[in-house]
Symmetry: C2
Subunit: 393 residues, 2 copies
Amino acid sequence: MAELRLKPDLRDRLGEVENPHSQVARFGLDQSLKLDAGVELAPFQIAYQTYGTLNSARSNAVLICHALTGDQHAVNVHPVTGKPGWWETMVGSGKPIDTDRYFVICPNVVGACMGTTGPASINNKIGRPYGLDFPVVTIRDMVRAQAMLLDHLGIDMLFAAAGGSMGAMQVLQWAVTYPERVFAALPIAGATRHSAQNIAFHEVGRQAVMADPEWRGGRYLAEGTNPRRGLAVARMAAHITYLSDAALHRKFGRRFQDRAMPTFSFDADFEVESYLRHQGSSFVERFDANSYLYLTRAMDYFDLAADYDGVLAEAFRGTKTRFCVVSFTSDWLFPTSESRAIVHALNAGSARVSFAEIVTDKGHDAFLLDEPELFAIVRGFLGSAGAARGLTG
Amino acid sequence: MAELRLKPDLRDRLGEVENPHSQVARFGLDQSLKLDAGVELAPFQIAYQTYGTLNSARSNAVLICHALTGDQHAVNVHPVTGKPGWWETMVGSGKPIDTDRYFVICPNVVGACMGTTGPASINNKIGRPYGLDFPVVTIRDMVRAQAMLLDHLGIDMLFAAAGGSMGAMQVLQWAVTYPERVFAALPIAGATRHSAQNIAFHEVGRQAVMADPEWRGGRYLAEGTNPRRGLAVARMAAHITYLSDAALHRKFGRRFQDRAMPTFSFDADFEVESYLRHQGSSFVERFDANSYLYLTRAMDYFDLAADYDGVLAEAFRGTKTRFCVVSFTSDWLFPTSESRAIVHALNAGSARVSFAEIVTDKGHDAFLLDEPELFAIVRGFLGSAGAARGLTG
């Protein structure tokens, strides 16, 4: 039914949405996902990758939670871009999250576009993509869906949950919603709520997408258009926030792109312009514009203390989970003060917590980059937590 | 001729461009403006406002240089918006820049859209607006045009040049290009060059404008369209950079707009979203999209040391101008480090310079706001410079 309504090239664009190059857990009408928005999502599916082997005690599972524009392809070649996985530096055989020791699960979040149900998925009721009929989801909804995936996989308790940025939000939500299911939590470059400035940048991105006439009120997939220019602008604006001023200066400064003099035009004279344009145009080849709206919205709504009358410590009270909170000195999107607030709340809740602020000029994206101190901290934290959990090397 | 090609409502939009509510200095074909791009602009005109009275010695003139989206209406009701002038707090009778003492001149910069020649102006050769046929201009071009205005007004030497942000760039360029014509210089929240991050944010804004199909390759005025959505997105992104994270938090936090709960939609749930949308939509009513491209480009190209083999001190060597450099602690667009670099270069050039970093959480826009310490500094600096210049109260 859906096939009849979609133009051929749209089937290609939806390929990973419906039939991803991943394992897929499918939940039927009797297994709905109860959303914070007050509605139930059914049927739905979760696409996920696994790396390593689950031990016989089923006690060595590590959940990797991806960031806004990440996906489940953490440690394998990406099926759309052909590029290495986004966390190859961190996860793998002999890496800090060692797939020789741990069974790593990385699911695509609800609302995304790489195989887990989201706005680009076919709404069976109408036979075409949801578009804006997809319900607004929250970080907690993502975590609830992941818990259903763990049930499906027969895993009662995670050894660890780890992630950066939006991934860190999910890790924190896991520890609050399912404290008995998370032995160790590793939120990197995260926050317990989105700041006004964070919301503002996301709103700019959403307005850029919605301003594109090809967005068509969110119905671009059914109408055979694609708001690629709007989404590229959104990505460009966001990308600046992922880097520090110092990193941009170090990488590009005021160097001209393949020329000695300014052209006195609106060409990409400066290397940083060319770089940003590339970031924008490559992003639209792999990401769904409506998913961008939904996932930014989920981050904006995130406010872990809100359910506890604004007292964050109450969210963590009595938790047995061990935490390792990590921030980066040059991260101005999720600055150290946000991580420090998490640590204070955990201390107030008498939780086990260690905290590391890593000195780097790489900005927010440092969690994705070659950052030896980060690797050493993760390796050490998981090693000692593993010993406490009785995991053998 | 132009009238025939323009639709009626476009004549309204061009009203301030051709026949502004300002004094206008017109320069004919024999008085061309020589541009850094290697071309000459002629004819051209400069729209300007004056406040106060020029003394008989013609020695009390203060040039006010406006910022990117400012204009000549510093201390009077704006003819388009009906709002007060943008520097009413700083300039006026009894104000720090006291119009009872000084003759204040505020010109609209070349490339802008409030009466000085820019891309929305009619290109007499073709009888319709320049659009992208307007040559790319630089900060130095703006200053050269202002010098021609001073010649026109019979003013050899400015008592002072003052401005914030792009205005500070002009002030610095004045002191370098015409050191003998500037007795005192007051660059506020400025820099001697645009950083990679600055360029990146401007490029996002330009791409947002150019991504709007109504931009029409810059020919929207002739074609009766208006890239308002693209320009609004550009303004929204830029506006975030004008405020500090702390100021956004203080003003908006995570407060909802006229509601108690999230709507689980893409409405402007948060006050900060509503505020940003308003900033975007009100801006497009008064500003020309192509002017936005040209003026951001001028700022990107600005690099005062480039003509001196990168040695900033050489730009100021031997200057007799007195400087007062001001920055704001929470300004992350033009951070204090940029102002400090100016001060170091001036010291290395043995110039007279004082420097003030003002503690405020208001961010870059602090130069436009009620900032008592700034007022006191400006008043004191101009007072002592005035005494040295022989100006009497």
